[in-house]
């Protein structure tokens, strides 16, 4: 108990100082407001300079914004059903949300990261983690759609994820919660020494981006919180922050805050990779889903995988070290040169920076302070590059501008602090509104940050926007960081609670954006490519409607011979081959969502008619001058009646 009081006192004292500081800053903000408006104004018809992909946290989605305008372009469903796009509702994308626990239509989406080549953003794919039921998703940046989801076995709370190495060799998925591996029925109080943490390295196929768990490192039962890859000289290493090195299982706010120093786990993944390639590691039986969406069949398949390679770090000398880092570090950030590893101790007011070159020297000199479960702990002084003293309260995350400056967010004192690498001096600080989490500089997790803007993501907004009941929007704040001092330019609301974002210059993605799917490449098993091929087929109680859409009609638009008790599949192909001309379809009483079908695409929804009658369907996406006329009817006869199955378009039914 004494400890808690001490800590509270520690926080209160500097809080006064920083609050005063914040007041001064907010005054200067209003003086700059006019210039700020010009800097974020993007004229009608003009395009933004950057894309920002902002995670949606508990919405399970990913929102795409333009910077500097803060305009919302698209919400990409990833770990969430989305009725707007039928994702997770239509037959084609339901398999995307399959897991070893069955259909899990939600997750907690945290950290997006964009693929890299030679340490620079290449704009091909974006990866994002599902925290709750551990998963990694891949989004194709030509279509802005989720095209692959891989479940992570032996993991729980997939938080230190999904960051990529500098040639996208690997995406990582580190477990936040340690668990029994393999899972078993055991007393929770026996956590210590028995629970384990897995760090998964998922290889990414350089050609098509296909993901595959190459190996899992089975680590001591700490909580693995965040991570970043090495780059430059430290390429080949990955760094993971830990907390709860106490290995407590209950009342963690107290019990996991006792050690003065936790660790950053430094993983030499090239060494582990060589070990595994040489036949090392153990094949472990398990069960996890691998879901892949194809742009050719316009459908996803879900495959259950039964095996994963696990490695014990003690079997690979020199592959894993622990870097002591004060005090429950959260963010783990590596500067663009790869030399500095910043561990933000969220219960510390100082920032601790480790030096990669010193780390290597300490390893060579075997400068160890003991070990944890056989993993060497390096001597703190030997690896420490410097400390930013009393920078703020509750440091969380650091990004870099590529000019030798670092920007750290402080959750408790609600501010962004700019400081200098090597001299460790604070240069500037700006308040945020309020309780800032992550910060994003486009290209932040690469060798080449585009240090023009920084985007702060805030957990709380209170008085910043019009109130919307008890739940107010979360927020992002845009700073101009091109000068010596940061300048607040813009607030804009976000979807869900934004955890992290990835930013990229628009010109790396926009020219490659897909305009429509070529109909001749459509390999969907139920696709029809011309109105002449449209038809209705009955197989027992299943009725398959092969339907097409084009401005402004469905083919067929009159269908008879459907009976109560049937299961009707609407397989709808959009015959359009024009940019930005999707068609939608919905059926009265269908227990699912509409479809939104892109040009050249086929999608399917099911309808189980429960009432006799003549029931309409219609186009849900305004498509043309005669959109309102784009509709049709299905006649539903009683179960067991002998109404002939028939269909037509533009003629009388015989």
């Amino acid at each position: 108990m004494k400890n808690i009081f001490k800590k509270a006192l520690l926080f209160l004292l500097p809080l006064g100082i920083f609050t005063a500081c914040g007041t001064n800053n907010s005054k200067s903000n209003s003086a700059l407001a006019e210039g700020a408006a010009e800097k974020v104004y993007v004229k009608p018809g003009d395009h933004d300079e950057f894309y920002a992909f902002v995670s949606g946290g508990f919405s399970g989605q990913l929102a795409v914004y333009g910077l500097p305008s803060g305009r919302l372009f698209k919400v990409i469903p990833v770990f969430s059903q989305d009725a707007e796009k039928a994702y997770g509702y239509n037959e084609e994308t339901k398999p995307m949300l399959n897991t070893s626990f069955g259909f899990v239509p939600w997750d907690d989406a945290h950290h997006p990261d964009i693929s890299q080549t030679a340490g620079e953003l290449d704009g091909r794919f974006l990866f994002i983690n599902g925290n709750n039921t551990p998963r990694i998703a891949k989004i194709d940046l030509t279509t802005f759609e989720t095209t692959e989801i891989l479940e992570i076995p032996n993991s729980a709370g997939n938080h230190s994820s999904s960051f990529v190495t500098e040639n996208t060799e690997y995406v990582v998925a580190g477990t936040r919660f340690s668990v029994p591996i393999p899972q078993k029925d055991m007393p929770i109080k026996d956590y210590k020494g028995n629970f384990k943490g897995s760090l998964s390295f998922i290889s990414v196929d350089p050609k098509d981006g296909a993901m595959d768990i190459k190996f899992q490192i089975i680590m001591p039962g700490f909580n693995y919180d965040l991570s970043h890859p090495g780059r430059g000289d430290s390429h080949g290493w990955f760094f993971f922050t830990t907390y709860n090195t106490e290995e407590a299982s209950t009342l963690l706010e107290v019990n996991a805050s006792q050690n003065d120093k936790d660790f950053i786990a430094a993983i030499n993944w090239k060494k582990v990779e060589a070990f595994v390639n040489g036949g090392g590691g153990k094949k472990m039986a398990t069960n996890y889903a691998h879901n892949v969406y194809s742009d050719e069949t316009h459908s996803a398949t879900s495959t259950m995988r039964k095996e994963v390679t696990v490695v014990d770090p003690r079997d690979i000398p020199g592959a894993v070290y622990l870097l002591p880092t004060p005090k429950s570090p959260h963010g783990c950030d590596v500067d663009p040169s790869g030399e500095y590893i910043v561990g933000n101790g969220k219960l510390s007011s100082n920032l601790t920076v480790h030096s990669f070159s010193k780390m290597i020297k300490a390893i060579e000199a075997k400068n160890f302070d003991g070990d944890a479960y056989g993993i060497p702990i390096l001597n703190f002084e030997a690896i420490n590059a410097g400390t930013v003293q009393q920078a703020g309260l509750g440091p969380l995350h650091t990004e870099f501008d590529g000019e030798g400056n670092a920007y750290t967010t402080f959750f408790i004192s609600s501010e962004v602090v700019k400081w200098k690498l090597k001299t460790w001096e604070v240069i500037d600080r700006k308040p945020t509104y309020y309780s800032v989490g992550h910060l994003m500089i486009p290209g932040g997790n690469s060798r080449k940050p585009f240090g023009k803007y920084a985007l702060a993501m805030n957990k709380i907004t209170k008085d910043r926007y019009l109130p919307t009941g008890p739940e107010v929007t979360q927020s992002a704040q845009l700073f101009d960081i091109s000068g010596d001092k940061m300048e607040l330019l813009l607030d804009f609301p976000t979807i869900g609670e934004p955890h992290y974002a990835a930013g990229i210059p628009a010109n790396l993605i926009a020219p490659k954006s897909k305009k429509f799917y070529a109909l001749e490449d459509n390999k969907h098993p139920y696709a029809v490519k011309s109105e002449a091929d449209t038809r209705v087929e009955r197989k027992g109680n299943d009725v398959h409607i092969y339907m097409t859409t084009i401005r402004s009609h469905f083919a067929p638009d009159n269908i008879e011979g459907i009976k109560v008790g049937d299961k009707v599949y609407f397989h709808v192909t959009n015959l359009e081959q024009d940019y930005d001309v999707p068609h939608g379809i919905s059926m009265i009483g269908a227990n699912t969502s509409e479809l939104l079908i892109m040009p050249g695409q086929t999608e399917t929804f099911t309808w189980e008619p429960k009432k006799v009658g003549v029931w309409p369907f219609y186009c849900t996406d305004f498509c043309s001058a005669l959109h309102q006329e784009m509709q049709g009817y299905v006649r539903v006869s009683p179960s067991g009646s002998n109404t002939k199955l028939s269909w037509s378009l533009g003629e009388d039914i015989e």
Binding site: Q577, A625, L626
Partner: protein
């Protein structure tokens, strides 16, 4: 070889470009189509300016009752033979006959070209005037006659929400150059004699 002969020879060869390059282009701009859509007219086919443009023009035009743009016209079967015949004739002239024939060849080309343009006009007229009775949208001129959707033969014209452009393309420019060369060859030959 004489300069006039070379000019005539090159001029005739330039006709061959018509088998590769488009002769004419009609494109349409509208607020909904900031990147214009259109078709390239070759001597033997009508082709998309950008992928699936003709399909999209047909989709739009069907609202006012216009026919689909045909993939092949009867003329497309004749035109290539005419060009081949004129090339063979031109080469015979270039190698075997004197400069006076160059002018004759040029005049025949002019006549054929004019006939071609007239044929093109007739097709455009039919395409723009022959509308289906049951068209969804029927626009009228101020005098009550049905609106016609004929694209311009040459130039730019506004049709409802579209601005239609009709201009020669690279194949036509090379054809004109070839014809011009035959004319220069004639004067060169005349000067030389």
């Amino acid at each position: 070889m004489k300069k006039s002969k070379i000019l005539m020879f090159v001029g005739v060869l330039l006709l061959g470009s018509l088998f590769v390059l488009p002769l004419w282009n009609i494109s349409l701009e509208a607020p909904q189509y900031p990147e214009a859509i259109g078709m390239n007219i070759h001597i033997n086919k009508i082709a998309d300016m950008n992928p699936s443009d003709i399909k999209n023009i047909n989709i739009m035009n069907h609202y006012v009752g216009m026919k689909d743009i045909p993939e092949v016209l009867p003329e497309f079967k004749i035109f290539p033979y005419v060009i081949i015949a004129m090339m063979i004739l031109g080469l015979i002239i270039a190698f075997k006959l004197n400069y006076k024939w160059y002018l004759a060849w040029f005049i025949v080309m002019c006549l054929l070209g004019t006939a071609g343009m007239y044929d093109f006009y007739l097709w455009e007229y039919d395409y723009g005037h022959t509308l289906r009775e049951n068209a969804a949208i029927k626009f009228q001129n101020p005098d009550g006659t049905p609106l016609a959707y004929q694209p311009p033969l040459l130039g730019t014209k506004t049709i409802l929400n579209f601005v239609a452009h009709s201009y020669p393309r690279s194949g036509a420019y090379l054809l004109f150059t070839g014809m011009l060369l035959s004319l220069i060859a004639f004067f060169q030959g005349k000067k030389g004699s």
